[in-house]
Amino acid sequence: MSESDVTKDGIRGERPDREALVGKGMPRRRKGRRGERAMVPEAKFTSYYGKPVLNPPTWEPLDIAGYFFLGGLAGAGSVLAAGAQLTGRRSTARALKISSLVAITGSAAALVHDLGRPERFANMLRVLKPTSPMSVGSWLLAAYGPAAGAAAVLDVTGFLPRLGRAATAGAAALGPAVAAYTAVLAADTAVPAWHGGYRELPFVFVGSAAAAASGMALITSPARENAPARSAAVLGVALETAAAKVMERRLGLVGETYRQGRAGRLMRAAEALSVLGAAGAALGGRRRTTAVLSGAALLAASACTRFGVFHAGTQSAEDPKYTVVPQRQRLEAAG
């Protein structure tokens, strides 16, 4: 097939290189029986030896799902703390301020722990990039963390009450953003189960955060003060469950990653635990034991949701089906 020869006088005959006429040389085939083969249904999708199209997240589940969970617990906890303080529920307010401080510290620690180069954490604050939810989130944490810290420390010590109230209000204002931005962080990737759910995921996350923080309030506060936490638990669970259902439906084929494997087990556990926790809180929350058990169930449910979402994402990235099929459908719909 080669068209060149190396001779004493140099190379004779030109190699075609990038002009090579590949695909030329055989007589054109008769169509004939070939056409019948097209009747055999095509495989649903093709892939390269079943290899994933995407590189799945390198994040450690414990670090990043933990970071989502603790961020939600802290953020929604700050709102509950401010509400408790304004309505004269002193011990609830104090307990939640402390829990928010501990949770946000844990959340930031998990994020730093997950870095490949933890000593370069400060590089997160090298720039402020609105196109990077992790950059926006780092700045948010840089503002929220000190506010939550001051709110807790000034409450416990009783110093500077006016500054304490300002810090409490500040943390409550930033808290919902802390609880919600992690959903954008997950959704702003090519991971099908996360990106495809970007409309509902923030609602799943804030609902889950509200459930976790009310769970914490139920555990830590006296029954006399826990009526709002019981209602908040029901609201949070309702929001989270409804949003998760809508998201699964919208995801279509990719939605099955939330029902299968480890993600499926975690999502089912989350649903069972949150219904149990919300029902316990609503019906038996006046009794201390029931309140504590319900609170624990709500916290566990919220953690299960975050881990479930995390694993659904990983599962959807590891199987080329979830990348190829929706994109094919999109192309076909566009014509």
Partner: protein, 317 residues
């Protein structure tokens, strides 16, 4: 603010001058690769040249059974990857060059039970697709958009490069890339990918992989030129009956605003492990922030309403 970014085409859509929009003044023309897989012979010279030039560590010596591909895919220590696909499909009107006796053909799994007999009876319908994959240097690069440290940046050549002295290994760019290119080197902690040989470009040289390619399957040059040349090549192939030939990543109006490194393929992209319709994830970011904002306000409002409804605790009134 994010809206204005969309307005200026910085998040999605046609974007004629990515280097200029990244703040480079008087920059050289945007360069890229046109990888014409129809002339690739699967020699892997590009893989080797890339490893050598960039001093990339070894990342596993396995026999996969995936034809001649033991590299498997792009990753932190594989910046060029040659895919091998064996298909029972004729390549246009090609002479496959596989001349077996019928018995041999059957043993090799190239049975003729489907009646695909050949006039001359000495060739089989076997084709071997080979394609050298690489970072696409997207016009709208998700990896770059989501990087929180600014380690990933747009060079004056319009390419996308990681500054390894800035990257803190947060790993955000890894799942953001719609092509599965960039990855974390676990023992090092940071992420790595093709730099389009930024060092060589700066010295006026072409990238090592293109230099090493013996068939000019990997063509380097100003993107405009490459696009024109690719259009001509597709026309040429269609003319001789290779109707499968198509360009991938050539269209500046696609989901990533066109690739800086684009390809001529002979089958659907997913056959080569490429996504059929990649979209830069940050295209939807303004909407994501809006939804998150509404969710945050729902949380704040909902909890405020709860406290308003319950008022002060009994006994304290």
């Amino acid at each position: 603010m994010t809206e204005s970014l969309i307005g200026r085409n910085l998040l999605a859509g046609n974007e004629p001058d990515p280097a200029g929009d990244a703040g480079h003044r008087d920059h050289p023309p945007r360069v890229g690769f046109f990888t014409d897989t129809s002339v690739c012979i699967g020699c892997k010279a590009c893989e080797v040249a890339c490893k050598e030039w960039n001093a990339i560590p070894e990342d596993g010596l396995e026999l996969t059974g995936m034809s001649y591909d033991n590299t498997q895919g792009l990753g932190a220590s594989t910046w060029r990857h040659v895919a091998f696909i064996e298909q029972r499909k004729p390549l246009g009107n090609a002479e496959a060059g596989v001349a077996h006796e019928d018995g041999v053909a059957q043993e090799a799994g190239v049975a003729r039970e489907d009646g695909l007999a050949h006039e001359d009876g000495d060739a089989t319908d076997l084709r071997w697709l080979m394609a050298s994959d690489v970072c696409k240097h997207c016009t709208h690069a998700a990896c770059l958009d989501v990087c929180p440290t600014g380690a990933l940046f747009r060079t004056e050549f319009g390419t996308v490069v990681v500054q390894e002295d800035v990257c803190n290994g947060c790993g955000y760019c890894v799942p953001a890339c719609p092509y599965g290119v960039i990855d974390q080197r676990k023992e090092d902690g940071r992420v790595w990918k093709c730099t389009m040989c930024y060092d060589r470009l700066g010295a006026g040289q072409e990238p090592a992989c293109a230099k090493a390619c013996p068939t000019q399957s990997i063509q380097f040059g100003p993107l405009d030129e490459l696009r024109a040349r690719a259009d001509e090549r597709v026309r040429q192939l269609h003319e001789i009956g290779v109707t499968d030939a198509r360009l991938y990543g050539r269209d500046p109006d696609d989901g990533v605003g066109g690739d800086g490194a684009f390809f001529l393929l002979l089958d659907e992209p997913e056959v080569y492990g490429l996504p059929p319709d990649p979209v830069v994830t940050t295209r939807d970011l303004p909407s994501m922030w809006r939804h998150a904002g509404v969710a945050a306000l729902t949380l704040l409002g909902g909890l405020a309403a709860v406290f308003a409804a319950h008022g002060r605790p009994e006994g304290k009134r």
